[in-house]
Each structure stands twice: as C-alpha cells, then as structure tokens.
Symmetry: C3
Subunit: 200 residues, 3 copies
C-alpha cells in the first residue's frame, strides 16, 4: 500500500517536471532529465549526504521505468493537462506525504537526531523541485511562494511527537501522511502563505 | 592510448568551459573554476552518487595540471579560437566518446544494471557541461538544442549489445567510441535535433 | 577559541545568506534555507566529495541552532544592516579564515595532496556563497567581482610553506588566519581585482 503511494508520488513529481520542461521548450532529453530529477532528485541528494551509495534509484530500477512511462504520458497528453490539474495536484500531495515519511525513516535508520531526520524528510519531498527549478534557471518556487516545505517540517514534528507516545508504526505513518495531505489541501484552498520581508 | 584520449577530452572540455566563462566576463578565478567543473564535474557527480570517494580528481592530480594548462592556453589564445573551432570540436567529440566509456566502466565495476551504467556514462560525458551552464545561470544547452546526451545513451546501448556477443574488450571500446564519434559528427553535419513539445 | 571563531564565521555567513534571500523577496522558508546553505553548503560539498558522511552539520546540531538564531536576528534587524555593515564584513572575513583552515585540516586528515587540501579549504570557505548565488539564479559573485577565493588559495599556500618549516600547530593556524584576514582587508580597502578577459 505504502509502496503504491510511493509510485503515485513518483509519477506526479515526474509529470510536474516534464510539464515544466516542456513549457521551457526543452527537447525530449531535457524533458526526461527534468522529470527524472524532479522525481528522484530529493532522495538522491539525501542519499549522497548521508552516505547511502550507490543512491536509491540505481539499485531499484522500478523508479526509472515509472518515470519513463510518466514522461511519455506527459508528452502525449500535454495539451490535456489543464483538465487533469486537480488529479495531478492530488497525486503531488500524496507524493509530498509519502516522500517526507521515506526521508524521516532513512534518517531514523542510521540513528540521526530528530531535527536532522525532519530535514531529510523535507529534503526528500521538496528538493527534487528545487533542482528542477535550478536546471530551469529559476529561483526555486518553494523559496518564494507556495507553503510546501513548511508542511513537511510540520509533518515531521507531528511524527516525532506521536512516536514519543509509542504509537504503533502503521498508525504513525498514516497519521503523519494525513496531517501533511490535509494541511496541504487547506493551505491551497485558503491561500496560506509564509511571510516575506522587505529589507529595502 | 585510451589514457591519451582521456587527456585530450579533458583539455577540450576545460577549454570550452574557459571560453564560456570569458564570454560571461568572469575573472581569472571564475574562468578556472568553470573550466575545472566542465572537465571533471560529470565524473565528480558520478563518483559522489556511486560512493567512490574521495572523488577521482582528488587522487590523480594529472587532471588538475592538464586543466591549468588548458586554461592558460585558452586565455592566451582567446581571440584565435574562431580559427581553432574545428579542432576544438573534434577534441570535444573525442572527450564525449572516452568519458562515456569511463562512466560505463565504473558502473560495471561495481555491478550496477546496464541501464544505470548507461546513465553513469551519459552523466560522466555530459553533466560537466550541465554544471557549467548552471554556474553561468543558463538553462543547460544539452536540454534545449544539441543532440549530445542522446548519443552517449546510444553509445551505451551499442556497448552492451556488443558485450552480450562476447566482443573482446579492446574491440568493444574501440567500436563504441567510433559509434559515438561518428554519430556526433553526422548529427552536427546534418543538423539532427531532438523534438521539442509545445504545451501551450 | 578556534571553535568560537568558527561560530562567528557561521553567523556571518548565515546572515549574509538571509539578507540576500530577503532582497530576492523570498519567504521565511527560503530565507532560512539560503542562510543555511550559505553557512554550511561549502563544508557539505567538501564532506560529500571526500566521503565524510553523514555530512558535518548532521552530527553536530550546534550549527543548526546558531543558523536559526542568526536568521531571526537578520529578519528582525533587516532595516538596520546598513549600519552593521562593517561588523558583518569583519565577521565574514573571520569566517573566511577559519573555514579555509577547517577545510585544509579535513584534507590533511585523510592524507590528500596539498593541492587538493587547498582546493578543499577554498571550497569550504567559498562554495556556500556559490550555492547561495545559484539558488538565487545569479552568476556566483566570486566568479565575477570580488577577490575572495584567491585569498583562500593564498592562505593555503602560506599554510603549507610554514608547515614545511615545522611550525608549531597553533602558530601555523594563527599565521594562516592572519594572512587571510589581512589580505582580505587590504583587497577591499585598495580595491584589488582579478583580471577579466575580453574574448569577443
């Protein structure tokens, strides 16, 4: 079940990458690479920083195949995505929850401090998008507009609070994902933003 | 022989980096760094992702010396490069072939799947240029225009097909390089491009 | 004492990151991340490239706390920084010296060649700023204008020359920092620049 959600998240992230790349008029290779780094870039960065090498996608080709299919799909239906926007947004939100949990878990497995685990969860979920934006020569969107990473941090905090109450693992994962997903839906619906600061 | 070609490729990549940096009006340090990352950035990224650390150039200073010399040469003859364009293009194409093979080999050495090895070959040959473009705040040229990475992928596929027929190692390397080099020459001569996709 | 200077450098780097992020109109998360990568990005890159993982800040949370405090301070006093400019510049210069020494040391510890150690020192001191500029979609300032990295390289050369004369460790560290700090002060006062090269 969890694995299925991971795949759904990967598809959503890859598609968002492919759509961004097409809007930048990249060629087929560019579209694939941007889709790829959007989907696995966060996890790759995490693996490199904690020394878990070769990085994840090199040992489990399923991600590579899924991203290829997502790319083909994104290219074929590129003019229909306005209608698919809601589904894509939902998938992306599932990805946000699942990827955060995967990142948290990797940190816990090697005994890192909760604060570092939360950073790893946020990195896994959000930094694929950061690398995508850098490769498109843009200031990363999560630094400017959307409240996105903050939700992962919040999810991580909830995770460790529940864990300290000895929650059962399944329940722990379920609750954390639901918190992330529902806060994200609310953030978009009610247009929540983080403050910015004028310094001039 | 192979080592000599590796050095020729390194020189070509370093010079292309130095020329790009000068056209961006960078200072001497910037020129050196851009030359350096263009030449060894792809291999460094590969080494970091497969956990081969300290990364290659830290253990074999020859690359550092060669890049320094290439930089000095590029600065001194910077106004003459229009005339050297054909040589530089040929050197760059040799680099493309050799670097792809080196990347493939590193992946095979640690037992990774052929698809991942092809990714590592492409990364070694092409991602120095990607890092160069990011440091110059540009969308990487290989995502937009030139058919370049695709040739490395093609070379990798040819490599594994031949390997499955139990080709002798020397012949395997030679054939793969020749495929990469000749397809690249044809791609430029006949102006082959990958498709792009309008999504607006 | 050395540790205190390390903290002062971290604060200065984090603040310079936070101020840059605010001037780019980033939100609170963006300000924190840019402050964070400016302060620890160089060391993280170094650790990843030499295989010292999990990277430094994951094992010593002190940096995380110090950067958080520096961020809050930078946000609260963001309109007063014109007056604090001189102090910030001094702190930043201390950071330059200390971070170079830390990088040199990590390289020596694992037996790398002096040239590579100098590269690691320069990376530790300067590449946080490079990552900051990339995340702000700018060509890194140290490639274009300020004589900054060159001072770290010079410091590294002085370090190894003195070391070859069997200087006592404390004296070695002190002299190297003083060289870096005083050359930096002079470079800014007398407006020293590296040459750039017209190639058009």
């Amino acid at each position: 079940m969890f694995h299925l959600l991971d795949i759904i998240g990967t598809i959503a992230f890859a598609m968002s990458g492919a759509l961004t790349a097409m809007s930048k008029k990249m060629d087929a290779f560019g579209v694939f690479i941007i889709a790829f780094v959007t989907a696995v870039g966060g996890g790759t960065l995490r693996d490199v920083m904690i020394g878990r090498t070769p990085v994840g996608w090199m040992l489990d080709l399923e991600y590579v195949y899924v991203i290829c299919i997502a790319c083909v799909f994104a290219v074929l239906f590129r003019k229909k995505f306005d209608r698919l926007r809601t589904s894509l947004f939902l998938f992306d939100t599932i990805g946000l929850g699942v990827f955060t949990l995967i990142g948290l878990e990797k940190g816990i497995n090697i005994g890192l401090h909760p604060i570092v685990c939360i950073a790893l969860g946020t990195m896994t979920a959000c930094f694929g998008g950061v690398i995508r934006d850098i490769l498109c020569a843009e200031i990363p969107v999560i630094f400017r507009k959307e409240i996105y990473a903050t939700i992962c941090i919040l999810g991580g905090v909830v995770f460790f609070i529940l864990k300290s109450f000895d929650f059962d693992d399944d329940l722990l994962y379920l609750t954390t994902s639901l918190v992330i997903i529902s806060v994200r839906l609310m953030a978009v619906k009610f247009k929540w933003y983080l403050p910015t600061f004028e310094n001039k």
